[in-house]
Symmetry: C2
Subunit: 209 residues, 2 copies
DNA sequence: AATAATTAATCAAACGTTTGTTTAGTTTTA
DNA sequence: TAAAACTAAACAAACGTTTGATTAATTATT
């Protein structure tokens, strides 16, 4: 879908306010005001608030799919190295699209079969299948051990990153990082998360001693 | 606070619907209907919807504090064993109070200084301090290694459990557990999460080979 | 190239619902 | 019989959406 400037302004404002206040908590009036457009333009362009939410998803999910497919093909990289690249990719995506990820977290708490729930489900399933394949490759080559619960492992990846991002201010407080600028802090967290998760994954996947 | 039967019915219904639809998504009419009480009873007993939410928190957080304080005192248990007990305690609490934890997850996405945000913050801070102390004890005794990021470690605990509980149906689907009863599944997840997290924590905390 | 016709974009105002809360009255309890 | 518990109805405010009018931009016609 191609959007003009005004439509993109609405989508960006919607993303921001949906992330902050939730779908029901963010009124179309607030979104219109934030985007500096007339209230009626939202219905005019997107049809409804619900459809606007779908547009936000459509706009963001296109870029969000992990680059696993291409990565798996590459024969010049070891499988553990591939996993490490994947971790960094995931951490980066989450940090740089925090608001959208917050919407996703919220949406997953609703156990209804909305069109958005279907989009999220498909996205997760595709990623999971790719990663399962990657783990199997590592097991065949002898790099990884047997009996790995990939779902559980991915929950640790996704869960840890989600938690840190959701509780940023708490993390800052606990580690006396309140004076860091936003960019400094992002860099710090990125590095910390990366090494933390790589260590965990190494311990889950290999028989390192 | 002491609540009568009707008040408890309201609190329970509110917990359920807040977890499912969020604060704004759950109307007081829905809550009243679910609790089989007249709409006006909510204002009558709790004053407002906001105060009802606070009552839900007050009612649940009293039981939720991890039993770390007592645990730390106990000299008959090793520190790694204490950590393992803590993990089981946390997993159990999360599984048996899923709805309340979903509300907490949602509430943490809102970056506003609501009374509830303050309650959550205090709860987390107290737990974090206790666990930091526990880790330090383990380091002094030589059981644990140095340079442990406790915040990051706790993010992995909380994040992994949250993620699995939030995405239960996805976890079931990925592991072909759709036919399990709710209780069987809870037992299964409990065991899986427990061993998974204990392995991770052992690897984070000790120099095991 | 100038004008008419058509479409798209924009807006303030109003629509009908639903929202949380209150009222004023009734029933129950002690 | 006074206080507490309870209710149906009404309240104003906020909600998402639609309307009808107006302006800007594009296309068609002469």
């Amino acid at each position: 879908m191609e959007y003009n400037e005004k439509q993109l302004a609405i989508i960006n404002s919607a993303e921001k306010l949906f992330a902050l206040n939730g779908f029901d908590g963010a009124s179309v009036r607030d979104i219109a005001h934030e985007a500096c457009v007339n209230l009626a333009m939202i219905s005019y362009y997107f049809g409804s608030k619900e459809k606007l939410m779908e547009a936000v998803f459509e706009q963001r999910t296109t870029k969000i799919r992990l680059k696993v497919e291409n990565l798996i093909q590459d024969t010049s990289i070891g499988n553990l190295e591939k996993v490490n690249i994947l971790i960094d990719d995931y951490v980066d995506k989450f940090i740089h699209q925090q608001e959208f990820h917050k919407i996703m977290l919220r949406e997953q708490l609703i156990e209804k079969n909305t069109p958005i729930a279907a989009l999220i489900h498909e996205l997760k399933k595709k990623n999971m299948e790719s990663i399962k394949k990657l783990v199997m490759d590592g097991q065949k080559s002898g790099e990884f051990k047997k009996n790995i619960d990939v779902t559980l492992m991915m929950s640790t990846l996704v869960g840890t990153v989600s938690n840190i991002i959701t509780c940023q201010s708490f993390y800052r407080e606990m580690n006396n990082l309140e004076n860091m600028t936003e960019i400094e802090f992002q860099k710090h967290v990125r590095k910390k998360l990366s090494t933390h998760l790589k260590n965990i994954f190494k311990s889950i996947l290999t028989n390192e001693g």
